[in-house]
């Protein structure tokens, strides 16, 4: 079953086209990453998926219904781009009121909220004002706010932008744990390593979908060269095709390393071709 279905969606602001004929799917229990440079239309697409914007053309279905349906939103957990928890409320109040706004009962919030504080390692910060938290803790508070209603689908718009490497890893760990539990997720990012680490499926987006597939499929499709590092003399060879690779390896007398292009290199190449 698909939790998100996007069918031929176009979004235009006057003459500017932000999304062009986008079709994509997110299956239940799957993490899908939208990858693209700034201004690629990722946030515009995500905003249409959680119902802040409406498509100019095309159709979006979230959990089988229109994204603007208020009842659907009660089953979503969303962290919008550059969003912060309420600085003048404590961590607990942020979680509590978000739960109330999503229609959860006080008892449900208490039970689930305590679990989340424990799971996200926020218990010691329970009564701290959100404005006094570090970037990583603020993001964890937002994740707790998004999860308080036990959502069927989690939407994260650039969840680690602006975080230091340690805080990024913390957020990754949380998301990976949620993946193990079968949480469906849609995330946008411009970090390649993030998409590669977290996503089951990736869409390269630059106004329209350029490439789609699992990280392995994408690598297999676009990685048509190898990098060979000869440790005896430090030389680096870039070769195309397996036959060429074999030839080079046969000439090396000593240790060597063969590397396929990273997702980042493929992405840069694909985006360059688009331009």
């Amino acid at each position: 079953m698909y939790v998100i279905e996007v069918n031929n969606v176009w979004k235009a602001y006057g003459k500017i086209i932000a999304n062009e004929d986008i079709t994509m799917r997110v299956k239940e229990g799957e993490i899908v990453a939208l990858l693209g440079p700034n201004g690629a239309g990722k946030t515009t697409l995500v905003k249409q998926i959680y119902g802040e914007l409406t498509p100019t053309k095309g159709e979006i279905r979230v959990l089988g219904k229109k994204p603007t349906d208020r009842h659907v939103k009660k089953f979503l957990g969303v962290i919008p781009q550059e969003c912060e928890p309420y600085g003048d409320l404590t961590v607990w109040d942020n979680i509590y009121y978000m739960g109330r706004l999503k229609g959860a009962s006080k008892d449900e919030i208490k039970k689930r909220g305590e679990e989340l504080l424990e799971r996200l390692d926020l218990r010691s910060k329970r009564n701290t004002l959100a404005r006094d938290l570090s970037g990583g803790l603020k993001r964890r508070t937002l994740i707790a706010m998004a999860l308080i209603n036990n959502p069927k689908l989690l939407i994260l718009d650039e969840p680690t932008t602006g975080l230091d490497p340690e805080a990024r890893r913390e957020v990754w760990e949380i998301l990976l744990n949620m993946r193990k539990e079968g949480q469906s997720m849609l995330l946008t990012t411009h970090y390649l390593d993030e998409a590669e680490r977290l996503a089951d499926k990736i869409y390269f987006l630059s106004r329209k979908i350029i490439v789609e597939g699992t990280p392995t499929q994408i690598k297999e499709k676009f990685a048509d060269w190898y990098e060979v590092i000869d440790y005896t003399n430090g030389k680096v060879y870039k070769v195309k095709g397996e036959e060429e690779l074999k030839k080079i390896i046969m000439t090396i007398n000593g240790k060597f390393e063969v590397r396929m292009p990273s997702l980042e290199e493929i992405y840069l190449q694909v985006m360059k071709d688009v331009e």
């Binding site: 912060e84 409320l89 009121y97 109330r100 706004l101």
Partner: protein
């Protein structure tokens, strides 16, 4: 929906604690200063205008400016997106911010009235007229703040314009004296300033004159004009 709206209001009121020192300054020390300075240099029969003017200024700064700036800040912090994703309509969220600011201001207005009575001996002849004038003023100022906060995209521009507008509406309108003091034809210009209506409605409520209701009607009309403007701005987004 009602329960969600009430939770939004409680949430907003809870956050007001964060700027309590500024709030108390504007509620107590600021009115004392204004009433002492203007009260002792004005003629006795016009002292109700000093209290009416101080409340008008307070409504202008406390509601208009703070609603506009709060909304701009909330939008800048991505919280409108957060609320929409939660299923709370944009209008609801904006109104909850406007209302909580209005309620907080309404709670503090009795302090100005007590100070006015103590320092300038201004008594209230009609409490119903006064309540109508106050509630309609808070509604109007909230809606103007909402139109400004949502209509201007840049947070810094909102901060500047809301401050300028609230000061212009307080000091370039007859809020501390009768409209009749303004020579014609400039008097007509003051009728396009909502604060003129606020101050006159309050003044007539103090002296128990039913003309207060007529001025309050003007405030309500302004309020609805700003509601229409805000709705237009929200839809355009």
């Amino acid at each position: 929906m009602l329960s969600e709206f009430l939770n939004l209001i409680v949430m907003q009121l809870k956050m007001i604690r964060a700027y309590l020192p500024v709030f108390l300054f504007f509620s107590i020390l600021f009115p004392i200063g204004f009433m002492l300075v203007f009260g002792y240099i004005s003629i006795r029969s016009l002292t109700p205008f000093i209290v009416a003017g101080t409340i008008t200024f307070y409504v202008s700064i406390g509601v208009l400016t703070s609603v506009a700036q709060s909304l701009a800040f909330e939008r800048n912090a991505g919280r409108f997106s957060l609320m929409i994703a939660t299923g709370i309509p944009r209008e609801f969220y904006a109104i909850s911010i406007a209302l909580s600011n209005g309620i907080a201001t309404l709670i503090m207005i009795p302090i100005i009235l007590v100070l006015g009575s103590y320092l300038l001996h201004v008594e209230i002849k009609s409490i119903p007229f006064l309540l109508i004038a106050l509630v309609s003023s808070l509604f109007m100022a909230s809606m103007l703040g909402m139109a400004l906060g949502l209509g201007i995209r840049n947070i810094y521009t909102v901060n500047q314009y809301s401050t300028i507008i609230s000061f212009v509406l307080s000091f370039f309108a007859p809020v501390y004296f009768p409209v009749a003091f303004i020579p014609l034809p400039f008097r007509y210009l003051t009728y396009i300033e909502p604060t003129t209506y606020v101050s006159q409605a309050l003044y007539y409520a103090f002296i128990g004159n039913p003309l207060s209701l007529l001025w309050s009607l003007g405030i309500i009309i302004f309020g609805f004009i700003f509601v229409i403007l805000s709705r237009y701005v929200i839809r355009r987004q």
